[in-house]
Symmetry: C2
Subunit: 203 residues, 2 copies
DNA sequence: ACCTGAACACCGTTCAAGT
DNA sequence: ACCTGAACACCGTTCAAGT
């Protein structure tokens, strides 16, 4: 049950690791997606769920928690890719959701905004981890990224005036710095943007 | 060059469509990622880039533009998955970036926030499209989603107090409604959250 | 010089057969 | 009843050979 650090988790690779044929894994799991979900849940046991929230620091704790979630996932890009399409449902994943909700409530965020917010915070963290992992892993992904950067640098001012005006800012900043800011932005937005179809305040 | 509506775009499938072997495609393209990027760019020709921004409606136009981008991508889940890890660099993709920047500038968003914001807005829209597409396409993905929903409903109040307190809100709302709110939240956050290492205002 | 058949090295999943 | 070998139906990518 306890899996070790194997890159690119695959039915066949895992079966080989276990000295058996790939068919045997289907006794424990229905498909690859479910396998990935189960492994992720195992990995999430290692993320730090410190439950006490220093008052006034709920935003920082939220960012920290999502950072450590993304860090776990970055080390396993093939899992990150699955989780992006998948939504696991293991106990540690539920605990993560519960902790995120707790922090949003500590910040006075209304229930529906907190509920919907957790979803997109996890989406952002997962997508960032998947993208980062892909770039680390494959030379092609890195190449494509450079292709975009040079296309942005060499864009013509006639065709793309706002890109040219923006200049180096489009490629400025390191990954973690941009990720931190992205999380802060999203948290701020979640906290301040009312959800639809809330009954109007009675008058 | 002009590709038609083929689901699950694959080197081999595309080659067969063109009555040739898969090796032939490598004359035009270096790898699958690049192929997907090129097809996406073609598809983006159909998104509506109306350049005039009614004053005061820049947020709505931003949401509309990202909605139509996500809609194009939802119809081609295999592309959405690639683009999530990939960042294309074709002319229509650059035009989309330019249009997003234009709208953020119309709202008075500072350059670095706009630049970094475009990146995460596209990430959110792409991830949402990929997830939606996966759910439409595969029964497994739908099943996993239901597994999470029932796990959330049946969570014990002892282990997961905040999930239980949140109740139905975690699964409330239709996809497009949640997506619209998510975009609005992110836009609000981008507009109000300062980026780091901006020089302090001189005093 | 340009294209491509055939091969290599992988996948996920199923199912009949074995213990 | 439980497990699994072998097969099926796919992948991406390379490269020697053909025109």
């Amino acid at each position: 049950m306890g899996e070790e650090g194997l890159e690119r988790v695959t039915m066949r690779r895992l079966a080989q690791e276990l000295d058996t044929g790939p068919a045997s894994l289907y006794v424990y799991v229905d498909n690859t997606a479910e396998l990935h979900g189960a492994i992720l849940d195992e990995l999430l046991a290692s993320v730090d769920f410190d439950p006490d929230v220093p008052p006034g620091r709920w935003r920082d704790r939220l960012v920290e928690l999502l950072f450590s979630y993304a860090q776990v996932l970055s080390a396993h890009p093939s899992l990150a890719r699955s989780v992006l399409l998948l939504r696991p449902s293991g106990p540690h994943y539920l605990r993560l959701i519960d902790s995120l909700l707790a922090l949003l409530y500590a910040g006075g965020v209304p229930a529906r905004q907190a509920a919907w917010g957790v979803d997109i915070l996890l989406q952002m963290a997962t997508a960032t981890a998947a993208e980062q992992g892909a770039r680390d892993q494959s030379v092609d992904a890195e190449g494509e990224h450079e292709a975009l950067e040079s296309a942005l640098r060499e864009a013509s001012a006639d065709a793309y005036p706002h890109i040219v005006r923006t200049g180096g800012e489009l490629v400025s900043g390191a990954g973690p710095e941009r990720f931190r800011w992205a999380l802060q932005s999203l948290i701020d937005g979640i906290a301040m943007t009312p959800t639809p179809s809330t009954e109007a305040p009675d008058a």
